[in-house]
């Protein structure tokens, strides 16, 4: 067994080498905006299976509210756009390692996340609901039981929230939202923790229903930590979208409802936000026809 022993020793040496190499952390603070402009392309992390916020059609076109917001932002920066698929578990690693410039999706700020990343203003006001099979109870309290299997995605903020309320809950977590929905349909989980807008869309596809809200779920664009310039620019852009009315129109287009929140610090737009673009901040004019295309069903052709 000399070979095995040699192998074990080598494995240990390799592991130690790994530790030594890993002591260098990523540190490139506050340059994302410049990087994006220099690269001429915004790399946006987006969900591929959370309709109507971010999802793909049968030909692989990226659709959804978040996708359209990303398209608008890229145009205002005057750069191209690349989508990178994120899931609940991959979004933070992809952002921190610099793979994406911003996660334009349905992430709710919380303390654990805020310790490692930063967030913009809220741009979606959603709720946490439970998606269930049609015919089952749609009362949240009926699923507060250790005998009920609660499904969700790995890394979904609702899981920690639900665990805080009900410590003995039993979870079954999948890597992707689409997998959880099929697992619910086939009976492997009794209820799925998801947001109301997605639940509404999944319920429309048939065989599913959803409960009333058990928590709120305001979502923000997620960016790397210590990126004031980039966060400020995104916050200004969201406010300008709001003042233009574009954000509200996109909200109505995708979620079918009017916005039920107010943009900005404590719901107030920052004064002088219209001065963006007058200094050295980028704020490009939109090409003719852009608005119509963005608000149409074919906004994916804009890319």
């Amino acid at each position: 067994m000399g070979a095995t022993r040699a192998l074990a020793r080598m494995a240990m040496a390799l592991a130690l080498a790994g530790v030594a190499m890993a002591s260098a952390e990523l540190a490139q603070a506050d340059q994302t905006l410049d990087t994006v402009l220099k690269r001429g392309k915004l790399i946006a992390g987006i969900t591929y299976d959370s309709p109507p916020s971010g999802y793909l059609d049968a030909q692989g076109n990226v659709l959804g509210y978040c996708a359209d917001v990303a398209r608008y932002i890229a145009k205002r920066l005057g750069v191209g756009l690349e989508f990178v698929q994120i899931t609940a578990s991959s979004r933070v690693p992809l952002l921190r390692t610099g793979r994406i410039d911003a996660e334009i999706a349905i992430t709710t700020p919380n303390k654990v996340r805020n310790e490692v990343v930063d967030f913009t203003f809220t741009y979606i006001s959603d709720n946490g609901v439970m998606l269930v099979r049609e015919g089952q109870s749609t009362k949240v309290e009926d699923y507060v039981s250790p005998s009920k299997v609660i499904g969700s995605t790995q890394g979904n903020g609702f899981v920690a929230g639900w665990k805080n309320l009900h410590a003995d809950a039993q979870f079954k977590l999948y890597p992707e939202e689409s997998s959880v929905v099929v697992a619910l349909k086939k009976g492997d989980v009794d209820a799925v923790l998801t947001n109301e807008f997605s639940a509404h869309r999944f319920a429309q596809s048939g065989g599913l229903a959803y409960t009333a809200a058990w928590t709120t779920s305001p979502d923000s664009i997620m960016i790397r930590q210590d990126e004031s310039k980039w966060r400020n620019w995104l916050n200004w852009a969201l406010q300008r979208m709001w003042l233009e009315g574009t954000l509200q129109k996109l909200y109505k287009k995708w979620y079918g409802v009017d916005v039920n929140f107010r943009m900005g610090d404590a719901g107030e737009i920052q004064s002088r936000v219209m001065e963006i673009g007058q200094t050295d901040d980028p704020w490009k004019d939109l090409p003719p026809g852009f608005f119509d295309a963005l608000l149409s069903d074919k906004s994916y052709t804009l890319q």
Binding site: L26, G60, R99, S205
Partner: protein, 256 residues
């Protein structure tokens, strides 16, 4: 008219008749399968054919590029393991064995999520897929190369030494040409394994064949139709590669 039944029984035992019966049996099964396939509703899936074909093409591209890159990396690894000086030899062995003992899915996660933390360089999911598949290909091909080097009988190097050839020219002119010829089928066979492994990079969001099928299924929900396409795509691709191996060396025992 003599004993018809006896003749028939003997005829049934002849290899050619057996083959005929087998082929007819296969034909019947295929026909039944085809009827079942045509009974499915294909209208929702049909518009996605180009998208799915692109996915299949990406899987092929991943497999071919990775096996090329892996092959280039495998050669020095195998040489180090066979001819390297003591320290190097053990290091190469440990590297190969450790990577071979690590799940392919973990390797994919490593290259995509974890390596960037170590190196500080970000990596696209496509490059991560290529990188991890190349690493996987490299360690397996290193073993193929090693087996190829060992496949040349020892007597040959002894004979070369006896005729006064140097160690290096023995390797270059005697061992290598034979080893390469012996390992070609195993090399192609590795492509089958690698092609199937490409399905794992689905987990990091590469729009390869498996991911494009699931994306289409999420949008139109036609699991039977799409999994059939999925199975056919992988089966026919791998089948084609194994046929190439059989054509090159009919006696080759295909083991990955």
């Amino acid at each position: 008219m003599t004993d018809q039944p006896v003749d028939l029984r003997r005829a049934m035992r002849s290899p050619r008749v057996k083959l005929l019966i087998w082929r007819i049996g296969c034909g019947v099964v295929l026909m039944l399968a085809l009827r079942a396939v045509l009974d499915l509703d294909w209208t929702s899936v049909a518009p996605s054919w180009l998208f799915l074909l692109t996915g299949l093409g990406r899987s092929w591209l991943l497999a071919i590029v990775a096996i090329t890159a892996g092959g280039l990396a495998a050669a020095p690894l195998a040489l180090a393991r066979v001819y390297g000086p003591p320290g190097i030899r053990q290091a190469a062995t440990a590297l190969i064995e450790c990577v071979r003992a690590t799940p392919e899915l973990m390797i994919v996660f490593w290259v995509y999520f974890t390596l960037p933390i170590v190196t500080g360089n970000q990596v696209t999911s496509w490059n991560a897929a290529l990188g991890s598949l190349s690493v996987i290909a490299a360690v397996y091909l290193a073993e193929v190369f090693r087996a190829g080097l060992y496949s040349v009988p020892r007597g040959q190097s002894e004979a070369s030494a006896a005729t006064g050839m140097s160690g290096f020219s023995t390797f270059l002119y005697v061992i290598l040409p034979q080893a390469v010829r012996n390992m070609v089928p195993a090399l192609i066979a590795q492509l089958v394994g690698l092609f199937k492994t490409t399905s794992l990079v689905y987990a990091i969001g590469v729009m390869e064949f498996f991911r494009s099928i699931t994306v289409t299924n999420n949008a139109v929900f036609a699991p039977y139709q799409l999994y059939l396409v999925l199975a056919l795509g992988y089966f026919l691709s791998c089948f084609a590669i194994t046929r190439i191996v059989r054509w090159y060396d009919p006696k080759y025992q295909l083991l990955e």
